[in-house]
């Protein structure tokens, strides 16, 4: 059951900054260290950037997650953009279709503890990541 939920509509580069700042505040509120909050904020920044670059419009939702004996933070990035043709390929380092560094998704995976992605061509993309408080 989550108690706090922050939603940020992503339509521009300004929203990327807003989303990561709100995510960092929530992470600190949930008791994450400042170092972990920076990892979470960096992951949010990359996910929001993918929305702006590939889908133009989408949403970032950040909320707390209560496990049986632990507390964590969950970030969901969703859009109705073009979707990803080959998800496996998008998760490999060095792959990009927009001329960016192509480190986005594998990097986000390394920054967080749990990573799930749902995407189909023409049906948008949803990335759900979690980090647990040590």
């Amino acid at each position: 059951m989550s108690r706090v939920e922050i939603r940020v509509t992503i339509t521009s580069d300004q929203d990327i900054v807003l989303a990561r700042q709100k995510g960092r505040s929530l992470a600190l509120e949930l008791g994450f260290s400042s170092g972990d909050a920076t990892l979470i904020a960096t992951a949010i920044s990359e996910l929001a950037r993918n929305i702006v670059s590939y889908a133009r419009r989408g949403e970032i939702v950040v909320k707390d997650v209560q496990g049986s004996s632990r507390v964590g933070i969950a970030v969901t990035a969703s859009d109705n953009g073009p979707g990803i043709l080959d998800v496996g390929q998008a998760l490999r380092d060095g792959f990009s279709t927009s001329g960016s560094l192509g480190l986005g998704l594998p990097g986000v995976r390394r920054l967080m503890d749990e990573f799930e992605i749902f995407s189909k061509p023409g049906q948008g993309t949803k990335v759900m990541v979690k980090k647990w408080r040590p």
């Binding site: 300004q14 990892l39 920044s45 950037r49 986005g104 390394r110």
Partner: protein, 120 residues
Amino acid sequence: MEVPILKQGQVLIATFQAALSDADLNQLRSALVQQVVRFRSRGVIVDVTAMDVMDSFASRTLREIAHMIRLRGAETVIVGIQPEVAFAMVQLGLTLEGVATALDLEEGLAYLNQKFKTMK
């Protein structure tokens, strides 16, 4: 938010005041390159102490700034990357390869002065 650029002798110093958006970073890139040309600067210091997150776009822009300025015959050094930000960058796979970095403004200036001596 525009990044102020200070001129100190042969060196330009750009200090981030807060988290920057992509547009701010692009603006900084053009402003720095223009001013390096205008003042015939030999060195540039970009102080990122106030940067909350260094994601792929920010890293790429800083690398571009350093490389463009090198093509003008000047040197760039990035200073003030916070330990937590550095940790996140490494996790993300961002290395700022080919770009000089230093601990803080003082070390950055020392680095550039050393470079100027060997360039003469």
